[in-house]
Amino acid sequence: MTDTITATSLPPGASQIAGAPLVEMRDICIAFGGIHAVDHVSIDLMPGEVVALLGHNGAGKSTLIKILAGAYKADIGEIRINGEAVSIANPRDAKRYGIETIYQTLALADNVDAAANLFLGREIMTPWGTLDDVAMEAATREVMGRLNPNFRKFKEPVRGLSGGQRQSVAIARAIHFNAKILIMDEPTAALGPQETAQVAELIKQLKAEGIGIFLISHDIHDVFDLADRVSVMKNGKLVGTARTSDVTQDEVLGMIILGKVPPGAMPGPGASH
């Protein structure tokens, strides 16, 4: 199976991009009241790479990624950014390392407008220490103009926006602050086909800029073509990791459903025997 591109001595599941990984999560564990939501999982991400994190609902994908985003603190395990061990205790820490997250729930404050959401926690201030709403609105108009040129509702609470518009506000928030690592949790769940294509285009563009992207999905068809590698989780454990060039969609589906690892993939602790 490994007769693809110059895979001379590359082990299965390793990235084709050489150099130090942008992110390494090693041996991560977290339990909630006796349930091991994430159980000794290790994944990594290179600059300019898209890694899809797949698995059923409840497989532990979102939890794992929330540890990287600073929303949860791992019980055990190590996170390395650019080879250096880091401690991410809260979302603020994560953002300091250039980790931006688009949550499945979008995590928008519905009662305030797009600009307030985009800059939430990182407001632009005037020299007098007050909110510079006009400057924030201007920046929002600019970034939204790139993502969603038809967007007009700058003064309205985001409650009044459509699903796609809300999604673009959440994406705008993640890319506006020069992210190095982007986490997208089910980014196309609320979108129609046209908007989904738009997001795919955006992912390619960001990848070309050297941003590393974790793409989380329960639906393999959404992400297979976009991803360089896939890591599959099941019941909190890592089933395995594979380059998308080494495996077929059906094989990955087997990993998701049965935990069966094909020859082209590196098995993890969650692989069935």
């Binding site: 953002k95 995590a107 519905d110």
Partner: protein
């Protein structure tokens, strides 16, 4: 200023470098004014209440005297309601404000009588400043304690402040073994209003002039800011209408408070004391704005600034809208919660200063049931109990509505139990109307 001057012309689209074209010009008269419909509705409701009471109470309601009294009676609740807005916006509640008012009022009186007066002497300005500072610091500390237990120990605000309601009422009793403590400092008593605690006609006009300048300057500043980024602007006539309406309201209020004059006998005595020669036809001395009203207005302005122009205010609203999102955005929600309750405590202390000064003494029962009036004022003023929305101005207007109902019924000689029945029904009715409004128009 090359932008539109009439409503019919569309707002010119932004310059080429601008990323997105602005929305088209507003079409309706009210739309162009960009006014808060709910706020206008409240002013309308207040006007209806006033006119109906004036009719039912045989013309005694809409008199300068009654309106002046109404303004003074509303100030303490109005001050506290501004803080309650933020508490409720954050999806919490504070049932302890009446008791905090009681204990801070009592401690301020005891501190003034037993320590500050003997130290600094009679009517030394330091006595007033010291009393206020001690009260506000105590209020902030009590509020911060509540906030700490709520945010960091995870006890629901309802329970913490219910406990606070009992604890601080008891503490108020303990501070003076239930005695009533008369205030001694004349400067401090000015905070309560009355003939001395009012600023007179001349100063009232000065305040009015400053207020009008402030309204105009705020409009110009907002417009400049939007021009800076070539955003769509309101038509100039709309700006003028709003500034004119604001100034007219200020002038009308000033005319009313200046029309309330001292009774002739008191005026003569006052004039003689001040060394003014009294003409034979008698002298007319206006009350002007009462000090507590000015305090309440100042608090309202500061709190509006805090709620809309500062990071803290933005976080309060964001947390109220979606606590989880605020947390994920890196906001320290626990600290903000603690600060909101500390602020509420400070405002309760200011309310205590006003109401003790008004009574000239601190009593054990002071502020009893105030928490309910404060919550009612905030809710009538459009603060949603589900969190995330509310305005300071609305809450202060709500306080005025509550006080108008009570004052009007007193003038109609309605007995207290029946007053409570009416106030209770109005509260429920107001929230129901608000709920319907939100469903239909939001």
């Amino acid at each position: 200023m090359t932008d539109t001057t009439t409503a019919s012309t569309p707002v010119p689209s932004s310059r080429p470098g601008s990323p997105s074209a602005p929305a088209s010009a507003p079409t309706s008269f009210l739309g162009a004014l960009e006014l808060d419909v709910r706020f206008l509705g409240m002013i309308g409701a207040l006007a209806v209440i006033w006119v109906v009471f004036d009719f039912l109470a045989d013309g005694t309601f809409l008199t300068p005297r009654n309106l002046w009294n109404l303004s003074v009676q509303s100030s303490s609740i109005a001050v506290m309601s501004t803080g309650m807005v933020l508490v409720i916006v954050m999806r919490h509640i504070d049932l302890s404000v009446g008791s905090i008012l009681g204990v801070t009022g009592m401690i301020m009186a005891v501190f003034q009588v037993n320590y500050l007066m003997p130290t600094f002497g009679f009517n030394n300005p330091a006595v007033m400043i010291g009393t206020l500072a001690a009260g506000i610091a105590l209020g902030a500390a009590i509020g911060a304690l509540h906030g700490f237990v709520i945010a960091y120990l995870g006890v629901p605000a309802f329970i913490v402040t219910l406990g606070g309601l009992l604890v601080w009422r008891g503490a108020a009793w303990a501070a003076a073994q239930g005695k009533t403590i008369p205030l001694v400092d004349d400067n401090f008593k000015l905070l309560g209003g009355g003939a001395d605690g009012s600023i007179g006609a001349e100063w009232s006009w000065i305040v009015a002039a400053i207020a009008c300048l402030f309204i105009a300057a705020a409009a110009v500043q907002a417009r400049r800011q939007r021009q800076r980024f070539h955003f769509p602007l309101k038509p100039v006539w709309a700006e003028l209408v709003i500034v004119a309406a604001g100034c007219l309201a200020v002038i009308a209020a000033t005319l009313v408070v200046n029309a309330y004059t001292l009774p002739p006998a008191l005026a003569r005595r006052y004039a003689e004391a001040a060394g003014i020669t009294v003409p034979p036809e008698g002298i007319s001395i206006s009350f002007g704005y009462a000090v507590p009203v000015l305090v309440a207005l100042a608090v309202g302005i500061v709190m509006t600034f805090v709620a809309t122009r500062t990071r803290f205010g933005r976080y309060v609203f964001a947390i109220g809208g979606n606590p989880e999102a605020a947390e994920l955005a890196g906001i320290n929600t626990k600290r903000v919660t603690l600060m909101v309750f500390a602020l509420m405590g400070m405002l309760a202390a200011i309310g205590a200063a006003i109401s003790t000064a008004r009574l000239n003494s601190a009593t054990n029962a002071q502020g009893t049931l105030d928490e309910l009036y404060v919550i009612a004022a905030a809710v009538i003023g459009g603060t949603s109990l589900s969190g995330g929305s509310g305005t300071i101005a609305g809450a202060m207007l709500g306080a005025l509505v509550m006080q108008s109902l009570q004052s009007g019924m007193v003038l109609m000689r309605v007995d207290t139990p029946y007053q409570n029945i009416v106030v209770g029904i109005v509260l429920v009715l107001a929230v129901w109307i608000d709920t319907v409004y939100r469903k239909r128009f939001k």
